[in-house]
């Protein structure tokens, strides 16, 4: 056991400041353990969102020494014992209190995406998928909705383009639908115009911070950008698609945020 120092941001939407804490920490402890100890020993009203403590619920996202991380998966042994560990709420979304941010904007974005639209004619025998078709989209289903990728994305974080760019988390959802062999919706125009694929400049921070190691940039965003190129910037691909390809025939736009849909 050793004494470790923490600098934790305390406050709400009206303002706040960093406060210093010092607690006993032992072997194997993670940052969330230390926060719980601070709650117990020093500050019972310290607000922190958490649930599973196993890196699977995506609740305890925060910034630890400036890096977006899950606090339940961040070992204190990764930090030098004599250094103070700085803990802040995620930056890209409004603060509710202390380490808790309001991530509801993300749920609104999710509602804007048209759900899976399978081919009606294949519904009798059910949807049969081969493993090679499943593999590519399965990766995206690992997402735990921690929104660390949304937080680190500089388009949202620094440039605050929430009105124009849906963020990497929803790019993977769109990719999972767009690449799905049984989905009939034509989402390309919407991905470009409504969800802002062009605003991503693929600097890969989203991939770097993903705790599920989803290769967001290379496997989701860039393939979507290439499909946009097919449609808008490559006349040969566009013509071939018109003549031979594309069974996705139903163009869909983003759903207005006020409209309630089944997801």
């Amino acid at each position: 056991m050793s004494q470790r120092n923490f600098k934790i941001w305390r406050g709400d939407a009206d303002g706040g400041e960093f406060k210093d804490y010092s607690v006993e920490c032992g072997e194997g402890m993670v940052v969330l353990d230390a926060i719980h100890r601070i709650q117990t020993e020093h500050s019972g009203d310290l607000a922190v969102r958490w649930n599973c403590k196993a890196g699977k619920c995506g609740s305890c996202s925060m910034e630890i020494d400036g890096k977006p991380k899950l606090s339940c998966m961040t070992r204190l042994s990764d930090y030098q014992p004599e250094k103070t560990v700085t803990v802040q709420p995620i930056k890209a979304f409004p603060i509710i209190r202390d380490l808790v941010s309001d991530v509801s904007w993300n749920y609104e974005q999710n509602k804007r995406i048209h759900p899976f639209q399978p081919d009606e004619s294949s519904s009798e025998k059910g949807l049969v998928m081969h493993q090679k078709d499943v593999d590519r989209v399965q990766e995206f289903r690992k997402c735990i909705e921690c929104f660390l990728c949304q937080d680190v994305c500089h388009v949202l974080r620094d440039h605050e383009k929430h009105d124009e760019f849906v963020g990497p988390k929803f790019m993977i959802r769109l990719a999972g639908l767009e690449m799905h062999p049984a989905d009939t919706a034509d989402r390309i125009a919407s991905i470009r115009e409504d969800f802002g694929s062009g605003l991503c400049n693929i600097t890969r921070c989203c991939t770097d911070v993903c705790p599920e190691h989803i290769v967001i940039t290379d496997n989701a965003i860039i393939p979507l950008k290439e499909r946009v190129v097919d449609r808008y910037y490559d006349p040969v691909a566009w013509l071939l698609g018109k003549l031979f390809g594309g069974r996705k025939k139903k163009p869909v736009d983003a759903i207005e945020p006020t409209k309630t849909i089944r997801v």
Binding site: K91, W105, E160
Partner: protein, 283 residues
């Protein structure tokens, strides 16, 4: 729905605004610094090499910076024999419009091809947006041009031409393999030299880089939604998987091939200038 704009530092959870503002205390700046300097070094060397307009040929070795050789001025030292030019001597009409400040060098006619491919490559975009444009300089580090950011919708819309540069890059690889093949022949005699091996490794590394390109991966199969629907799609899936394997190491191949293409020019140049001795079977 936009979250309320967060400009007051007190309401931003301690995230102070400003260029390079961050709570990170690791050496995040090393990667953009090293990659920025490394690429700048390559650009400086390749520009210098292109400006030389000479010593690009040694025995049967042709520098990749000068391939394909469209026109030749045989009077310069280290120039290739005239039969190696695709279109012969430099035409007077081209000399007439050539800028006076620019040396007459065959390299200037062809460098736009590989430069265009690397310049629009998805990996290089990551590196130079970070290193040269501070957009962002690192993950969680506030970058430049706050509020004016347009991503790849404004000036950088040009990045969408990447697949055209891919086609050009593939043509260059074929040409460089042809050069490597010819490097094993000298005066009608088959042989091998260190330079032949260097020239053969060059397009091989470039192939690993180019065939792992995101656009190639898309075109070979990624564009399909169903890999199991027919025989052609099954074949595409095989190609897509192989391209994906190379793509996972795209950054590594990008740098290795970049360094090797520079080294290949350097090797040919040194042999051509008589500074290095090429070990070979021709004697």
């Amino acid at each position: 729905m936009t979250p309320e704009k967060m400009t007051d530092p007190k309401s931003t959870g301690g995230h102070l605004p400003g260029y390079l503002a961050t709570q990170r205390n690791d050496r995040w700046w090393i990667e953009p610094l090293l990659t920025g300097l490394g690429f700048a070094l390559f650009v400086a060397y390749s520009t210098w090499a292109a400006f030389q307009g000479a010593h690009y040929w040694a025995g049967s070795y042709l520098s990749p910076f000068y391939s394909p050789l469209l026109f030749i001025d045989p009077s310069v030292p280290g120039a290739a024999p005239i039969e190696h030019a695709w279109f012969g001597l430099w035409p007077d009409s081209l000399r007439a419009i050539w800028p006076s400040w620019l040396p007459i060098s065959p390299a200037f006619l062809i460098l736009a091809g590989p430069l265009g491919f690397r310049g629009t490559c998805y990996y290089y975009r990551k590196f130079y947006y970070r290193a040269y444009f501070s957009s962002p300089p690192g993950c969680g580090i506030e970058g430049a041009r706050k509020g004016k950011y347009r991503g790849e919708t404004g000036l950088f819309l040009i990045q969408n031409l990447h697949r055209y540069t891919l086609y050009v890059a593939i043509a260059y690889i074929v040409i460089l393999y042809y050069d490597a093949y010819h490097s094993f022949f000298r005066d009608g005699e088959v042989g091998v030299g260190v330079g032949s091996i260097v020239l053969l490794i060059n397009p091989t590394l470039l192939s690993f880089y180019t065939l792992g390109c995101h656009s190639f991966r898309h075109l070979i199969g990624g564009r399909l939604n169903c890999f199991s629907c027919n025989a052609v799609a099954e074949m595409s899936h095989g190609g897509w998987k192989k391209a994906s394997g190379l793509n996972r190491r795209h950054m590594m191949w990008a740098w290795i091939s970049l360094v090797w293409v520079g080294f290949t020019d350097f090797y040919v140049r040194m042999v051509s200038m008589g500074i290095w001795q090429d070990w070979n079977t021709w004697g």
